[in-house]
């Protein structure tokens, strides 16, 4: 269904970068003329002359130089005031809400799991969804959906502890034979057989990626750089992956925020810029959109060395089909306008997802995000 739209008929690909721990929106996109900003950040304010100005009111944290370059190229949408009502200010609950689209009850299915089920209903490609990381985020979980979860692409696969390559190859061929069609051995055995072959096939598919990959881009040494490079390798190998997921953190800067937050954004900004340079060099950027989010923003007033859990945050969308600019409104910063000392969300996160699902992945959003939400128009709808 979805092979039209952006990117020369290539199916759309989504890359999700989760900023885990609660990114401090107030010091990421800074209202640098706002007295309330300077009043409430006695310890953590960024002086006006160091802010990377995006327009007459707002600018990026000084560590976000590469992000500013992308913004100025017109490929980045900044979605302000993102969140939902009654933020629980708990990492785990908030992350669950973002993953399952269920702010009022505990949900089990992830929004991207549902999207993957629509994209590949018969589970034909074991690498339609790829998570780069140890644990599978709940966003990707749905019954019947297989997602390859890769801690490190260069060592991914079965029986990786067998060091001798020849021995391991032989054992994997035994594995394939043992998991071959097992008719009449019972439903669960048959299901296991198919799943084992999928796992083997997925590992085989992904194994070729590093060898096929060529690039002059040299990524930095941070973990997010290596995750995004793994994604670039798999994406450019053209193995049919439609949703990639990775995360970076921890943005939970209760203390020592000045140095920590700067380092985190430096790592992310550089890695994201390298990633897009890499995709462009490989002529593989047209059909890709990357989104970034965090489970909540942080408290407006700093605590002397860091900031505590808050509410409204910021979302980013990056890619050639993104209509660059700002969306939604920066939440009011007057002390009277805050709720429990936090910025009040004015853009439902499910509207952010809706735009991605409908205008990029070409899927019907309401059943995936559990309803209709105001969707900011940050994507070109007819190619570009």
């Amino acid at each position: 269904m979805a092979a039209n739209g952006n990117g020369n008929g290539k199916p759309p690909v989504l890359v999700v970068l989760q900023l885990t721990g609660g990114n401090d929106y107030f010091n990421t996109v800074i209202p640098y003329n706002d007295e309330h900003y300077f009043d409430s950040r006695p310890s953590l304010q960024i002086p006006q002359d160091r802010v990377l100005k995006l327009d007459d009111d707002l600018g990026f944290h000084p560590a976000m130089g590469p992000m500013k370059d992308i913004y100025e190229s017109g490929d980045m949408a900044i979605i302000h005031g993102i969140g939902y009502a009654n933020s629980p200010r708990s990492h785990f609950r908030s992350m669950d809400i973002w993953h399952t689209c269920e702010p009022d009850k505990v949900g089990t299915e992830g929004w991207l799991g549902r999207a993957l089920r629509e994209i590949d209903p018969n589970g034909e490609n074991p690498v339609t969804g790829v998570n780069i990381g140890q644990a599978l985020p709940r966003a990707l979980v749905a019954p019947g959906v297989s997602v390859a979860s890769v801690a490190d692409l260069s060592t991914y696969g079965l029986l990786t502890s067998i060091e001798q390559q020849e021995q391991r190859e032989q054992m994997l061929s035994r594995f394939a034979n043992m998991y071959g069609p097992a008719v009449g051995t019972g439903q669960v055995m048959e299901y296991l057989g198919q799943t084992g072959l999928d796992a083997l096939k997925g590992a085989d598919i992904l194994k070729v990626a590093p060898d096929k990959y060529e690039s002059t881009v040299e990524y930095g040494a941070s973990p997010i750089a290596s995750k995004l490079r793994d994604i670039a390798q798999i994406h450019t190998a053209d193995v049919g992956t439609r949703v990639f997921y990775c995360d970076y953190g921890s943005f939970d800067t209760h203390a020592a925020q000045a140095t920590t937050h700067a380092k985190l954004w430096q790592d992310v900004s550089e890695a994201v810029q390298d990633f897009w340079d890499d995709l462009r060099e490989n002529n593989a950027d047209d059909n890709v959109v990357m989104i970034m989010f965090s489970e909540f923003g942080r408290r407006v007033r700093d605590n002397g060395s860091g900031t505590d859990h808050g509410a409204a945050g910021v979302g980013f969308a990056i890619g050639p089909s993104v209509k660059g600019g700002m969306y939604s409104e920066y939440p009011e910063t007057r002390p009277e306008a805050l709720e429990q000392g936090d910025l009040v969300p004015n853009q439902d996160y499910r509207g952010f997802y809706t735009t991605i699902l409908e205008n990029h992945l070409h899927l019907e959003a309401p059943p995936i995000v559990n309803g209709q939400f105001d969707a900011p128009g940050f994507l070109q709808t007819n190619g570009h």
């Binding site: 785990f92 669950d96 140890q134 644990a135 599978l136 390859a148 035994r174 408290r299």
Partner: protein, 466 residues
């Protein structure tokens, strides 16, 4: 001398009523006898408890109050790997499956660990006491919003799940019963509800607030009166559905995989006679749990149910660590190991919802299968581990040379004993015999072939069952 059947049966009991056992342990239990071993497992106080102070001394992080699930997972893993009361710990895991409470909302692993400790204490005692303790458990109260269940504004979350997931199952109560049940639990709340910020966490404790309790009449499951929560629990215990629901959970966890819980009012149990008999025992003993466990573990249907269940991720991780002796006490990798079940789809102390985990074949997907296979294969192929060396010695203890087929059979024996289908067996033998059909016991080649065979067995479909 124990026969192969005795060994197989005792290994089965230890996998189900515990987290597996080494062959030496199994042989010792065989000398004691099956029924006596069941008694020893049930009489958990006969064995020493986990020495928690050693844990705190070597891993101060496990005593730090905090919200994250991960430290809590490390604590519980330590208990499961080192316990000498395997059934007590397995029952705590069982109740965690049934009364699934999660850090995703509670955000306080200390209270979750307190709840698990309550399961250790009451999990094999009396179900009524357990249910009452659960209704007064701070983590549960917060998890199911009973602190928001007020006289003038009832919240049905706890009331509903008590009936649907913790005692009766769908189809055995009406919406009115849910509402009336919830009213009876108004005022059952927690102290202190001080906000966490800016000063940090405050410990919760159960508190009954008479002024917030609905003192008017309620009609619940056909009875009318000014019921409090405790009366509700007593009425629940009088329902025929209650013992059936609980014993079906026990059967599903300990004997053989049932369909997922939401299907229980549509699909009959695999073994209705067993459920009826166990239910009768539960009621006849006023909801004491031990007589039911005794009957179940000594039954023919239990003994015949070897390898009828897909192992849960926790069983895979803990069983492997115990049998290979990869972890035997304080360990620098404790926190990392505590996360392993989560990588395979079972974040303990953080279930996906109050419904708990979907079990059986739903444990397996291509991602989790890779993690399971690699976790076990990494360990059983590592001869540095004491448990693996014992396994290799066992394989080679029958003469100075052996054929490829004998080697495979001995490996299958020590890894279970595990029965595999003919094709799996043929593949294993072909793999071993590729290096020559005769193997000289004790050689490096022998050791390598044995451990590779262990790794291959760990990767089979059959090994995913326990």
């Amino acid at each position: 001398m124990a026969t192969r059947e005795d060994i197989a049966l005792m290994s089965h009991l230890m996998r189900r009523a515990g987290f597996g056992a080494t062959r030496d342990e199994v042989e010792r239990y065989c000398e004691i006898g099956y029924e006596q071993t069941v008694e020893m497992l049930i009489d958990s106080d006969s064995q020493p408890p986990v020495d928690e102070y050693t844990l705190y001394r070597y891993h101060p992080i496990t005593e730090v109050p905090g919200g994250a699930a991960a430290p809590g997972q490390a604590n519980w893993l330590y208990w499961m790997v080192t316990t000498q009361r395997p059934l007590e710990e397995k029952m705590a895991l069982f109740w965690h499956h049934v009364f699934a409470t999660g850090n995703a909302k509670v955000d306080n692993c200390n209270h979750l660990l307190d709840q698990i400790d309550m399961f250790r204490e009451l999990g094999m005692a009396n179900y009524r006491d357990l249910l009452l303790a659960l209704a007064q458990d701070p983590a549960m109260i917060y998890w199911l919003d009973n602190n928001e269940n007020h006289k003038h504004a009832p919240n049905e979350n706890w009331g509903r799940e008590l009936l649907e997931l913790f005692s009766l199952g769908v189809g055995h109560y009406t919406e009115t019963d849910v509402f009336e049940c919830s009213r009876a639990f108004t005022g059952w709340t927690i102290d202190a509800k001080m906000p966490r910020y800016p000063y940090g966490r405050h410990p919760w404790k159960f508190s009954f607030r008479p002024e917030d309790h609905d003192q008017t009449e309620k009609t619940f499951l056909g009875r009318t009166g000014n019921f409090n929560g405790e009366d509700i629990i007593d009425i629940i215990l009088d329902q025929e559905a209650c013992p059936r629901f609980i014993t079906r959970h026990l059967y599903n966890f300990f004997v053989a995989d049932e369909p997922q819980v939401p299907a229980w009012n549509i699909e009959p149990p695999r073994n209705p006679e067993a459920i009826e008999a166990l239910s009768k025992t539960l009621v006849d003993n006023n909801y004491d749990i031990k007589p039911v466990l005794r009957e179940m573990f000594n039954s023919d249907y239990f003994k015949e149910a070897q390898y009828q269940k897909v192992k849960s991720p926790t069983e895979v991780v803990v069983g492997t660590l115990r049998v290979t002796k990869d972890m035997t006490g304080p360990d620098p990798r404790l926190e990392a190991l505590g996360k392993e079940p989560g990588y395979m789809g079972q974040d303990i102390l953080d279930p996906p919802s109050v419904e708990g985990w979907h079990t059986g074949r739903e444990w397996i997907n291509s991602g989790s299968l890779v993690k399971r296979v690699n976790f076990v294969a990494d360990r059983v192929s590592n001869v540095e581990l004491e448990g693996v060396r014992s396994m290799v010695d066992y394989v080679g203890s029958n003469g100075s040379t052996m054929s490829a087929s004998d080697l495979v059979d001995r490996c299958l024996d020590i890894m279970g004993p595990l029965e595999v289908d003919q094709r799996t067996h043929d593949e294993l033998v072909s793999h071993v015999s590729a290096g020559g059909d005769e193997v000289a016991v004790g050689s490096e080649d022998f050791q390598e072939r044995a451990t590779q065979t262990f790794a291959l067995i760990a990767s089979t479909r059959e090994y995913q069952f326990g």
